[in-house]
């Protein structure tokens, strides 16, 4: 019965990475991965991806309408009492979401690294269709490795 102890530890150090979504510019979820997810959304994965993407789009339009400042407007993250949603959007429309504990550090850098992995293993591979779900095992394993070796994991 090690589980309570480990959750206690993760609460104590408040450093965990829960799950990861990657959306392409058309809004299709091309990669999803979860490590320590304790609650499911209560709907099919397909619906959950749509809900997530819809929320990201609204969040972006909300943020850009609310701000009257000049220059580029980018949503970085939001925090609730239990988790933090970290968001990265590239100029090409690729959207990346990494849900972590609110106390996790170094997450924006980690997301840049994941993007680098995506470019190396998916974009640079001429045999992979960029608009479809990523089936590349290399991508999966390098993503796993990056996240599990991260100090916030």
């Amino acid at each position: 019965c090690l589980r309570p102890v480990s959750t206690l530890f993760s609460k104590l150090f408040s450093m965990t990475i829960f799950n990861f979504y990657l959306f392409n510019r058309d809004g299709c979820c091309i990669s999803y991965k979860e490590w320590k997810r304790e609650k499911q959304a209560g709907m099919s994965k397909d619906e959950e991806f749509k809900l997530m993407h819809g929320m990201l789009i609204s969040l972006r339009s909300f943020a850009s309408k609310l701000s009257t400042k000049n220059g580029q407007q980018q949503v970085k993250s939001y925090e609730t009492s239990q988790y933090k949603m970290n968001y990265l959007e590239t100029p090409t429309g690729l959207k990346m979401v990494l849900n972590t504990d609110p106390g996790a550090t170094g997450i924006p850098e980690l997301m840049r690294l994941i993007y680098q992995v995506y470019v190396d293993t998916v974009v640079k591979n001429p045999l992979v269709d960029c608009s479809a779900e990523i089936t590349s095992e290399l991508f999966q394993s390098r993503l796993n490795e990056l996240v599990e070796k991260h100090h916030s994991f």
């Binding site: 979860e34 997810r37 304790e38 609204s58 969040l59 609310l66 220059g71 939001y78 925090e79 009492s81």
Partner: protein
């Protein structure tokens, strides 16, 4: 000013109070020759810059005057004739022309839309949580602002939007706004629940509170 906006949103997601840090802006004026090197388009009945930032004119700026004559929506009356701004600016005979641009503003209508959007975002964030018993959005960080939200037990949301580098003292400010809401709005016998708050004393109290908060933050920084 470190605080841009304060919103109070009721249980159903409609805006019942808003405070705005007024920033007076005169806009940017520039003389253009034909053809116009900024791409304009009509968005929400306003002629808006959609491409070609230059000389202090940025994206989302709107055309507010042409040759000193103010623009109504996307129409302008010049020499007794009504023009659509887009048509006027695409006619070579009207050049050179002096155009004044204004930075984007948030109208009351847009504030109402933004509050109900936030209300649903708040709920979805709780639903998509990977951890059980999560609250909705408490802090939203973007490159240009930081939004703090406090939801009272009765479901009323208090939202403060401020500069991106806003400190943690906002939590206290939100609690104080809640206190003022309880004192000045709820104890007012003429106030009906879930309706917009129109109360001079509440307005004044909020104004004082935010001024004090700004001053205090100035000292600590």
């Amino acid at each position: 000013m470190s605080i841009y906006q304060v919103f109070v949103i009721n249980r159903a997601g409609s805006l019942i109070y808003d405070w705005d840090g007024k920033e007076d802006s005169v806009g940017v004026e520039k003389t253009f020759s034909y053809p116009l090197d900024i791409v304009l388009d009509v968005l929400d009945q306003k002629v808006t810059v959609v491409f070609g930032e230059r000389d202090g004119i940025f994206l989302r700026y709107t055309v507010c005057a042409i040759n000193g004559i103010s623009v109504q929506g996307s129409q302008v009356v010049i020499n007794g004739r009504e023009w659509s701004v887009m048509d006027y600016l695409s006619d070579e005979a009207n050049f050179p022309v002096i155009v004044r641009f204004m930075p984007p503003t948030i109208s009351t209508n847009e504030k109402i839309i933004l509050s109900s959007t936030f209300h649903s975002l708040f709920t979805i964030a709780a639903q998509l949580s990977p951890i059980p018993r999560s609250s909705g959005i408490e802090v939203l960080t973007t490159t240009q602002f930081k939004l703090h939200c406090f939801q009272s037990t009765s479901g009323v949301k208090f939202v403060v939007v401020g500069v991106a580098g806003m400190s943690g003292a906002v939590e206290g400010l939100l609690r104080r706004i809640y206190e003022l809401y309880a004192d000045y709005a709820l104890k007012n016998p003429f106030y009906s629940m879930d309706m917009p708050i129109r109360c001079q004393r509440f307005d004044d109290a909020i104004k004082n509170l935010i001024e004090k908060h700004d001053k205090h933050n100035m000292v600590t920084v």
